[in-house]
């Protein structure tokens, strides 16, 4: 399985949950933190990201950057 990693640009996240629903391996969730706008930014809460970028593809606020890890 391919390996990946995401970076959430927390200041832009609006906790809409679209990425959470889009992630095929269900590694995302809305966190308990709050950002400057009062939203709870999304976070990766467990291992297993495959770097597919489905989360970024669906994010209306371009709040996720995605990396693929090559062995």
């Amino acid at each position: 399985m391919a390996k990946g990693r995401i970076e959430v640009l927390e200041q832009y996240c609006k906790s809409c949950g679209l990425c959470v629903a889009a992630c095929p391996v269900k590694v995302l969730r809305i966190s308990e933190k709050t950002n400057a706008k009062g939203y709870r930014p999304v976070e990766q809460f467990k291992e297993g990201c495959i770097g597919c970028a489905m989360c970024a593809t669906t994010c209306p606020d371009a709040a996720i950057e995605v990396f693929k890890i090559q062995e």
Binding site: G4, R5, L9, Q11, Y12, K14, S15, C16, G17, L18, V20, A21, A22, K37, Y39, G51, A53, M54, A56, T57, T58, C59, P60, D61, A62, I64, E65, V66, F67, K68, I69, Q70, E71
Partner: protein, 248 residues
């Protein structure tokens, strides 16, 4: 072990700004796709956008290209003026369904009918978003809106307009397609369509319109994920995806 970035914020997306759109609104996805396409085609310095009146009225705050405001519905006429004087520039409009299919129906039909070499991104969210959820020309039968609280009734309000199908009956426009931003698999196709619609203009082919089925979680009274589920189950049967016209 090494890392490659497979997704980053588009270059033509205004740096350091957060949009005013409600959480999970489809406008943001459509904006992002337009930015990605502008970046990939390398046309940022040559693009002039025309803003609508609607939730996307301040689109110029998010897209780092030249931009011009249009009165409600008149973006295709403004774009015609821009493109007539500057045929060397890439001119596109970004319009909602109230803007394009109601008050601006005349302007879009005639711009299409002239085969104007412009690109139109048409956001169909079946509602007047900005003014607070009134019935749009695209509101589905039975769908509730603040000005049809019991649901749209064909006898009183007529039927929702299928803009793409209607414009495709004209001989002049070249590329007319309907896509959606409801889920990643559709978003990937939506981006291909938007890219093609810009590429057509770059190649001087003529009028291209991409109708994007989008959501308005706020005025539909749904959570963002639920809104896209409703789009797929209720809007898509009435507004089928696909190409209605293509140059090739």
């Amino acid at each position: 072990m090494s890392e490659v970035k497979v997704y980053e914020r588009p270059k033509s997306w205004m740096p350091n700004v957060s949009s005013h759109y409600c959480p999970g609104c489809g406008h943001g996805i459509a904006h992002r796709l337009v930015c990605e396409v502008i970046d990939e085609l390398g046309i940022q310095n040559d693009t002039i956008g025309v803003a609508p009146v609607g939730c996307a009225a301040m689109i110029y705050d998010y897209m780092d290209t030249d931009y011009c405001e249009a009165p409600h519905g008149r973006a295709p006429a403004v774009a015609t003026g821009l493109k007539t004087v500057r045929p060397d520039k890439i001119v596109y409009t970004y319009q909602g369904d109230g803007d394009l299919a109601s008050i601006g129906m005349g302007e879009i039909v005639h711009a299409a009918n002239r085969g104007q070499n412009i690109t139109v991104i048409f956001i169909n969210n079946a509602i007047y978003g900005m003014t607070g959820g009134q019935m749009a020309p695209t509101t589905l039968l039975g769908q509730k809106a603040t000005t049809c609280p019991l649901g749209r009734d064909a006898k009183v309000n007529g039927y929702p307009i299928r803009v793409s199908e209607m414009l495709a009956t004209l001989p002049a426009p070249g590329y007319i397609t309907r896509v959606t931003v409801a889920q990643p698999k559709y978003i990937i196709k939506a981006k291909q369509a938007i890219k093609k619609a810009f590429q057509n203009q770059v190649e001087g082919k003529g009028f291209s319109l991409v109708e994007v089925l989008s959501s308005c979680p706020t005025n539909w009274g749904m959570r963002p994920v639920e809104a896209f589920d409703w789009l797929i189950s209720s809007m898509m049967p009435y507004y089928p995806l696909g190409d209605f016209k293509d140059f090739d």
